[in-house]
């Protein structure tokens, strides 16, 4: 009953919504070649997500949507680390990544210009799981397991 009501509501309120969502065929064909997609984030012309090529490991992928082209991330995708979540700011300069490395889970802030990752410790101690960036690049929201609960830490960047 609720499903039927929602369907009616969607039709009434959505109007011609079905026609308003347009796939981007060229880009999506490229994206479909990647496997095990996860954790999409989009800001400005930047699409960040996790995926693997062929049967490889999950890697952070950054796509310039205006050019439908991948952007290299030197030093970010390490063979000893498995990314879990990624977020990007509108400039495409900063990526926040939660990753597993050496039996621990860490949050790092990667700066493309510097090609380097800076760990961000959880305080109080906790295990991060996912991260969200405000598009203006000023605030991170981090989902953290702490004391048996999932909590959200908010971090203002300088």
């Amino acid at each position: 009953m609720r499903g039927a009501l929602l369907a009616l509501l969607l039709l009434l309120l959505g109007g011609c919504g079905a026609g308003g969502v347009r796939p981007l065929p060229g880009l999506n064909q490229q994206l479909a070649k990647l496997n095990n997609g996860k954790s999409p984030a989009i800001a400005g012309p930047w699409l960040a997500f996790l995926a693997s090529r062929s049967a490889g490991r999950l890697q952070v992928q950054l796509i310039d949507l205006d050019r439908s082209a991948p952007v290299p991330l030197p030093g970010l995708n390490r063979p000893d680390a498995q990314p879990i979540s990624v977020a990007v700011d509108q400039s495409g300069e900063q990526l926040a990544v939660v990753r597993q490395r050496e039996d621990r889970t860490e949050l790092v802030l990667y700066r493309r210009l510097l090609q380097s990752s800076q760990p961000i410790p959880m305080d109080p101690a906790g295990v991060p799981r996912s991260v969200s960036f405000s598009a203006n690049g000023r605030v991170l929201a981090v989902e953290v397991s702490r004391g048996g609960l999932w909590q959200i830490d908010l971090l203002e960047l300088p």
Binding site: R2, G3, A4, L6, A7, L10, L13, G14, G17, A18, G19, G20, V21, R22, P23, L24, L27, N28, L31, A32, L34, N35, N36, G37, K38, S39, P40, A41, I42, A43, P45, L47, F49, L65, D66, Q90, I120, P121, D123, P124, S130, S132, S134, A135, N136, R138, V139, A141, V142, E143, L149, W150, Q151, I152, D153, L154, L155, E156, L157, P158
Partner: protein, 181 residues
């Protein structure tokens, strides 16, 4: 130059702030008394609003709050269609995109908080939404879909569906797939 320390609001408690590694920290606890799980944070593009998932009567439910004050903002269409999943906000928080339950199916929708409309996103046949990310200007959306047993990220243009939600002062660039978002 630090922004003012996040204030302790009426509905959001600040359990501790510290300055480590050049970061200003705040632990955002859920509304109400006591501790509870709070997951899947999503910030508006300007960082003013925070959407997250909490348990309400055993059902995973999205809440929208002002980040600094903790004030809970109303949502019109989503009650009764839990579990909610994967909230995502536009630049000023006008649009909240998420995945809801519609009968036996998962449905990607966008609530327009300015107009009160709920926009369903009808994906190509065979695609089931698992998660999503709305571009800050609301002119594109990245959807994590399951198709043929695999999960893929696909991007859709929303310029024919939604007005842009741009940062103040940001110029209109014509919208569409090629527009900066």
């Amino acid at each position: 130059m630090w922004r003012p320390l996040l204030s302790a609001g009426l509905l959001i408690s600040v359990s501790g702030c510290s300055l480590i590694g050049g970061l200003r920290r705040q632990a955002a606890s859920p509304i109400g008394l006591g501790s509870e799980n709070r997951e899947a944070p999503a910030l508006s593009g300007d960082g003013r609003l925070l959407a997250s998932l909490v348990e309400r009567a055993g059902r995973t439910t999205v809440i929208l709050q002002e980040r600094r004050s903790g004030t809970v903002l109303p949502l019109r269409h989503l009650r009764g269609h839990q579990p909610h999943q994967s909230p995502s906000l536009s630049w000023n928080g006008r649009y909240l995109a998420l995945v809801i339950q519609q009968g036996q199916r998962r449905q990607a929708v966008i609530e327009d908080r300015a107009s009160g409309q709920l926009h369903p996103l009808f994906l190509p046949a065979g695609m089931e939404p698992q998660g999503l990310a709305l571009a800050p200007n609301a002119q594109r959306i990245a959807v994590l879909v399951s198709r043929n047993g695999s999960s893929q990220v696909q991007v859709f243009d929303l310029s024919g569906l939604l007005e842009a939600d741009r940062a103040p002062g940001q110029k209109e660039t014509g919208g569409g797939a090629q527009a900066p978002s």
